[in-house]
């Protein structure tokens, strides 16, 4: 019971922030309703979302999450967008697509999801399937540089994995 309340703290804070940002006001009515609703929601989803609540309280993880976001939006996304836009507008359309194996080395489901979403959200690479036993993502790549899994890992997901490991694992 106490453990479940402790675990419900993370989702409750997240849903309270979402409520306040969405409603865009700090009136007493909104704050009181937000606290009540987010506590109920947090208690409801505590058992299915959080297994280790202590991870939420480590500030170093939040710093790494911020660095991850900055790197992802300002470097990785911009580079991938320019690459794919160039391929679309090029008169000869230089593509050599294929599905390659990309291994991953993280343990938790959250880290796996973060890496897979990061790969899919950058244009040029899409995760088609995942094999949790062999720990492999099958990635459709618009420009297959090499069919070796290690080279593909280096050029697709090494940077995401470095950050995701520190944030979620």
């Amino acid at each position: 019971m106490v453990n479940r309340l402790y675990r419900s703290l993370g989702p409750a804070i997240l849903s309270f922030i979402t409520y306040i940002v969405f409603s865009g006001s700090l009136s007493v009515y909104d704050v009181v309703t937000g606290i009540i609703v987010s506590l109920i929601v947090g208690y409801m989803v505590a058992n299915i979302t959080i297994t280790n609540p202590r991870k939420l309280l480590e500030p170093s993880r939040l710093v790494w999450l911020l660095l991850y976001a900055i790197y992802y939006f300002l470097v990785a996304e911009v580079r991938a967008h320019i690459d794919v836009i160039g391929r679309i507008l090029h008169p000869k359309m230089p593509i050599n697509p294929g599905i390659v194996r990309v291994p991953y080395h993280v343990e938790t489901d959250y880290a796996m999801t973060a890496i897979a979403n990061s790969i899919t959200n950058t244009p040029g690479t899409v995760v088609v399937d995942v094999d949790t036993k062999r720990k492999i993502f099958y990635v459709h790549w618009i420009n297959v540089v090499s069919v070796k899994p290690e080279v593909a890992f280096k050029s697709i997901s090494e940077a995401y994995e470095k950050y995701a490991k520190r944030v979620f694992d």
């Binding site: 979402t18 306040i20 940002v21 969405f22 409603s23 865009g24 006001s25 996304e77 967008h81 794919v84 836009i85 679309i88 507008l89 359309m93 593509i95 050599n96 697509p97 294929g98 599905i99 390659v100 194996r101 897979a116 979403n117 899919t120 959200n121 950058t122 244009p123 040029g124 690479t125 899409v126 995760v127 088609v128 399937d129 094999d131 062999r134 492999i136 099958y138 459709h140 618009i142 297959v144 069919v147």
Partner: protein, 126 residues
């Protein structure tokens, strides 16, 4: 006054970039040869074409004082929609790609290599 101009101009640049990404993604969807390659063009359309202009619209709404007290609500809901799209878009296209691959609804052609097919044949014990 100056701060409002700055934030509106930054938002307008983001919206303009998003609109350009939209048109380019639509052209890409028309030009690319098969479903899996079109997925990459669609990603340009969802991240560059929806996430970026939503952030830009949120900034414009903050800077526009003529919208009245509701502008914080507009800015906030645009921001939440942007973050939601960032989470939902990859999950949706991942589910679609996996289903299209498994049901053979779309064939991976042209291709250089297909490791997924090799491993699935191996798993069936052939």
């Amino acid at each position: 006054m100056d701060f409002n101009w700055l934030i509106v101009l930054v938002g307008e640049v983001l919206v303009a970039v998003g609109v350009l990404c939209d048109v380019i993604a639509a052209i890409g969807l028309l030009r690319f040869p098969n479903f899996y390659v079109r997925l990459h063009a669609a990603t340009v359309g969802t991240i560059g074409g929806a996430f970026v202009p939503l952030i830009g619209a949120s900034l414009i709404a903050i800077g526009c004082e003529f919208l009245g007290g509701y502008r914080w609500f507009m800015a906030g809901s645009a921001l939440i929609t942007a973050i939601l799209i960032l989470i939902l878009a990859p999950a949706g296209s991942h589910a679609l790609a996996r289903a299209a691959y498994r049901s053979r609804a779309a064939i991976v052609q042209p291709k250089i290599v297909d490791h997924l097919e090799e491993d699935r044949v191996e798993d069936r014990g052939e």
